[in-house]
Symmetry: C2
Subunit: 253 residues, 2 copies
C-alpha cells in the first residue's frame, strides 16, 4: 500500500478506496478482484449516468473527475458530491431503479461498469464485502449531510475552503494527492454549483483565500499553502468521512 506507486490495476483502485474505511480480509480482496468490469472512456462534459436512467450496472471511477448534480426548475444546477478514482458514485442504482440525479464527467474520465448482478451475488456471499459496501453507502450519506451544512449554514469563504479540505483529504488518504498540492480540475463555475454560490462570487472568494495565503492556484492546479488555517477557515473536521485512523494519520503530515 505504497502511496507513490504508478497507475494501479482497476480493481486495486476499488480495494484501496474501500480499505480506507473498512477492514477487508484477503478473501474479501480476492472476491473484489474477481468482479467483472467493462471499462469505458468518457469525455469531459458528458453524463456518465443521466437522471431518469435505469442502470443495470454500477460504475467505478478509474481516472478523472466526476460529480453528482441536479438541475432545479429555472435551470440552476446544484452539485452534491465530487468523485475521484476509486469511488462508486452510483452504488445506489443497485437498489433504486430510477436515477434521481445525474452523474457528470467533469474531465475526461475512465470508468468501469460492474453488473449489478455481480455485486449482488458478492453481497449475498461475502459478509465482509456486504458490510464494507453498506458502510461506504452510509458514509456517502454522511458526506451529503455535511454538504447540507456547508451550503446551508456557512459563509462563502467557509464553503469554498471546506470543499477544498474535503477533496484534499479524500484524495490524500487514497494516495492520489501530494502532501500539500493536489489536482482539482474544477472550474470556478463548477465550484459555484457545488457551494450554492454564483461564479462571480466564487472568483472573489478564491482571491480572498489567495490573499490570505491559504491557497495558490495556477490554472486548475491548486496548492494548499496553509493546511491548518484552511481547515480552520473551512470549519473542517474530517470525522464525518469516517476514515480509518491509520489512513487518516498519513494525511496529517
Amino acid at each position: 500500500m505504497s502511496l507513490t506507486s504508478g497507475p494501479l490495476p482497476d480493481h486495486a483502485l476499488l480495494i484501496r478506496q474501500l480499505e480506507t474505511v473498512a477492514e477487508l480480509s484477503t478473501r474479501d480482496r480476492d472476491a473484489l478482484s474477481s468482479l467483472p468490469m467493462r471499462t469505458k472512456a468518457i469525455p469531459g462534459g458528458r453524463d456518465i449516468v443521466r437522471e431518469g436512467d435505469r442502470p443495470t450496472e454500477s460504475c467505478l471511477m478509474l481516472s478523472g473527475l466526476a460529480c453528482r448534480y441536479k438541475v432545479v426548475g429555472g435551470g440552476r444546477r446544484q452539485i452534491m458530491s465530487i468523485h475521484f478514482p476509486g469511488d462508486l458514485p452510483d452504488l445506489q442504482s443497485l437498489e433504486l431503479d430510477v436515477m434521481d440525479h445525474g452523474i457528470l464527467a467533469l474531465s475526461e474520465v475512465r470508468v468501469a461498469f460492474i453488473p449489478h448482478d455481480a455485486i449482488r451475488s458478492l453481497i449475498d456471499r461475502e459478509p465482509g464485502i456486504r458490510s464494507a459496501l453498506l458502510k461506504q453507502s452510509l458514509i456517502d450519506a454522511s458526506m451529503f449531510r455535511e454538504w447540507i451544512v456547508n451550503v446551508g449554514r456557512r459563509t462563502a469563504i467557509e464553503r469554498v475552503a471546506h470543499v477544498f479540505c474535503e477533496c484534499f483529504v479524500r484524495l490524500r488518504v487514497r494516495g492520489l494527492a501530494g502532501s500539500h498540492s493536489f489536482q482539482l480540475l474544477l472550474t470556478q463555475a463548477e465550484l459555484a454549483d457545488a457551494t450554492g454560490l454564483s461564479n462571480v462570487h466564487v472568483n472573489r472568494t478564491l482571491q480572498e483565500l489567495r490573499r490570505a495565503g491559504l491557497v495558490r492556484s495556477s490554472g486548475k492546479r491548486h496548492e494548499i499553502l496553509d493546511w491548518p488555517a484552511l481547515q480552520t477557515v473551512g470549519d473542517f473536521n474530517p470525522a464525518y468521512l469516517h476514515i480509518r485512523p491509520a489512513y487518516l494519520a498519513a494525511n496529517a503530515a
Copy 2:
C-alpha cells in the same frame, strides 16, 4: 393496510414504513416482528442520540417528531432531516461507530431501541430484509441530496414549500396524515434551521404562503389548501423519495 386504523403495535410501524419503499414477504414481516425492542419516552428538546456517541442500538421512531442536526462553529444549527413514526433515523450507527451528528426530539417522542446485533443477524439471515434496509439507507441518502438542492439553489419560499411537501408526502403514504391537513409540530425557528434561513425570514415567508392561499396555519397545525400549487412553488417532485407506486398513488388524492 388500512390508512385509518388506530395506534399500531410498534413493529407494525416499522413494517408499514419499509413496505412503502420495498416489497416484503410474509417471512420478512415475521422476522421484523421478532426484533427485540426497548421502548422509551423522551421529552421534546432532548437529544435522542448525541454527536460523538457510540451507540450499540439503533432507534425506531414510534411517535412524535425528531430531526437530525449539526451545529457549526459559531453556534448556527442546520437540520438535515425530519423524522416521523416508522423511521429509523440512526440506522447508520450499525456500521459507523461514532455519531457524526445529533438526533433531537422536537416533540415528546416514543422511540424503540433495537440492538445492533439483532439487526445484523437479521441482515445476515434474511436477504429480503437486507435488501429493504439497504434500500432504505440509499433513499435516506437521496433525501439528503434533495435537501442539498433545497438549501443550495432554491429561494426562501421554494425551500419552505418544499419541506412542507416532503413532510406531507412521507406522512401521507404511511397513513399518518389526512388528505390535505397534517400535523407539523415545527416551530418557525426549527423550520429556519431546516431551510438555512433566519427565523424572521421564515416568518415572512410563511405569511407569503398564507397570503397566496397555499397553506393555513394555526399554532403548529398546518393545513395544505392548494396541494398542486404548493408542489409547483416548492419545485417538488416526489421521485427522489422512491416510494412504491401503489403507495404514492394513494397520496395523489
